[in-house]
Amino acid sequence: MVMEIVCPAGTPAALRAAVKAGAHTIYCGFADETNARNFPGLNFSREEMADGVAFAHAKGAKVLVAINTYPRAGSESLWHAAVADAETAGADAVILADLGLLAYAANNHPNLRRHLSVQAAAANAEIINFYGEEFGVKRVVLPRVLSVPEIAAINKDTDIETEVFVFGGLCVMAEGRCSLSSYATGRSPNMNGVCSPASHVEYVEDQGALSAKLGGYTIHAVGADEPAPYPTLCKGCFSAGEKTAHLFEDPVSLNAEQLIPQLAKSGVTALKIEGRQRSRSYVAQVVKNFRAAVEAVDAGRPLPEGMLARLSEGQAVTTGAYKKTWR
């Protein structure tokens, strides 16, 4: 079977572009703190979601709604409403992380398919099966801490579908279990759906050096004429002991295109592309390439040459934890 390409859409225009480019499935979120890409100007109103789902369905594509932050104590109704509205909009599934919200969805919207978000960091077959038994979860997005052989072992021990990230931004930490951002800025992925938020970024020039700061902490320092990378916390340059380096991760993004044949053999159902904040042309380009790749793998042909070189140009890429030496 052809592996499913699951593609991000931050806007209705990106959704349409991704569907036209050949995405099997689109994932998106409502324009509020219920989803983990809660950025200004992104995401969908209720009406846009219903229109987007109708457009995708007419073209044979599916829509998943990410409601994958952790509901705030005392305000769970906002998240409950998002689940109900996703069902009303005709979504094919919701992507959830919080135990309480999973229980709520299973009890109140039993016919709405449930996927487990990467934010739940379910990293072995036993816990994945547990989510299946407890909440009827049908698919799990695997955290980016696993090697390909470990993914294969998980798939042997579970009937629940697995989805893995293959392209785009890369969390170095186990997702949903990181509060570095709120330590520095007060705003976090789990609580606010943001990491290293732009509202807390400043670029400071001093004596020929340019510092990219987050919450007052210098994350990168470059010469004043050089482009300073965005100060994403875990990809910064820091000092420890005698060493100054990218101690956690280099400023790289994930590209696992070359691993698609191995991931297919490992029993993975779907390949996920990160980047709801990306432009529709970027999204369309990535989708076209990955669609061609999974068709080739399914037909037993070699991967198309030089697939995504242009999109990754000037930026280092990694296969992350899929290769064990990354650890």
């Binding site: 135990l99 990293a123 801490v145 570095l180 420890a240």
Partner: protein, 299 residues
């Protein structure tokens, strides 16, 4: 309010590990959670000392619990997690994998690395048998108060992160190994040299985080010195104190004195800084604009 000592987050020599629990048997704490939280590779070095430590603490009248690992991926980690349920001591789950192994109806506690952000999750865990939950350190006071109310209704005691470097992230990658140009499988236990974690500074010299193998912590030492009254009012049952290599038994004693009203917040804070050799304190997750903030006077 009770005092709980959380599991040691760091990799200590076996004799230092045992000495901690001998000292805690005499310290004014109510509850001790022990075992390996961060890295399964450390466990063989002190595993045979866990049962004696449990016996010593129990004999001294302390409640005890065994923690699960924070991130369970490898086969041996799954096995170790399953084995926890068979020890016959209360299990503190810090990865939900541990819950999957507990017999239906078994009582358990929930550690700060499980995401309990709201009443729905708290009630679901209570229905599964949770009797105590130590909340994630990043929660603000308003959430703590709401969850303490929900906990009271559901029969769950609420604990908060009271003292110690704050666990901020866990990864598949070992940063200590990376720092030394190694990979995790061949780490040569580089983290053993840093019994309180290794300080990570910005390139302009500002202390920021600390690394501890696969774990990243705050550089600052969290302290609820100034937050005892609001936490009491919120209905919080216990403070969690996280072990550090210097002066930890005295630290426990100081918090007890603060709870008893024998010393005030400023005195406690000043003593903590002295004992730890000058660590910066923080309590910003609870009441500040960001986690790193501190509501007390600057040192």
């Amino acid at each position: 309010m009770e005092l709980t000592v959380g599991p040691n987050q760091f990799f200590w020599k076996a004799e230092d590990w045992s000495a901690l629990y001998d000292a805690l048997a005499k310290a004014p704490v109510d509850r001790v959670v022990l075992g390996e939280l961060v890295c399964s590779k450390r466990l063989p070095f002190y595993q045979d000392q866990i049962l004696p430590a449990l016996e010593t603490l129990t004999a001294a009248g302390k409640q005890v619990a065994l923690t699960s690992l924070a991130l369970v991926t490898l086969k041996r980690e799954i096995k170790a997690t399953a084995a926890l349920a068979e020890v016959g001591v209360e299990v503190e789950i810090n990865d939900l994998t541990a819950l999957a192994h507990l017999p239906e109806g078994a009582k358990f506690s929930v550690g700060p690395l499980v995401n309990v952000y709201n009443e729905g999750t708290l009630r679901w865990l209570a229905a599964r048998g949770a009797t105590r939950i130590c909340l994630p350190p990043e929660l603000p006071l308003a959430s703590v108060a709401t969850l303490a109310r929900a906990g009271a209704e559901a029969g769950v005691e609420i604990e908060v992160w009271g003292h110690g470097r704050i666990p901020l992230a866990i990864s598949g990658r070992c940063y200590h190994a990376r720092l030394h140009g190694r990979i995790k499988d061949n780490c040569l236990f580089a983290c053993e040299d840093d019994p309180d974690g290794l300080q990570v500074d910005t390139t302009d010299g500002q202390p920021f985080m600390s690394m501890n193998g696969v774990q990243t912590l705050s550089d600052s030492c969290a302290s609820m010195a100034h937050q005892i009254e609001p936490l009491r009012e919120a209905g919080v049952k216990a403070l969690r104190l996280s072990p550090q290599s210097k002066g930890f038994a005295e630290t426990c004693d100081l918090y007890r004195q603060r709870l008893n009203g024998a010393i005030d917040a400023a005195t406690l804070a000043a003593e903590l800084v002295r004992l730890s050799g000058g660590m910066r304190l923080s309590d910003g997750f609870l009441t500040g604009a960001r986690g790193a903030d501190w509501s007390g006077a600057a040192a």
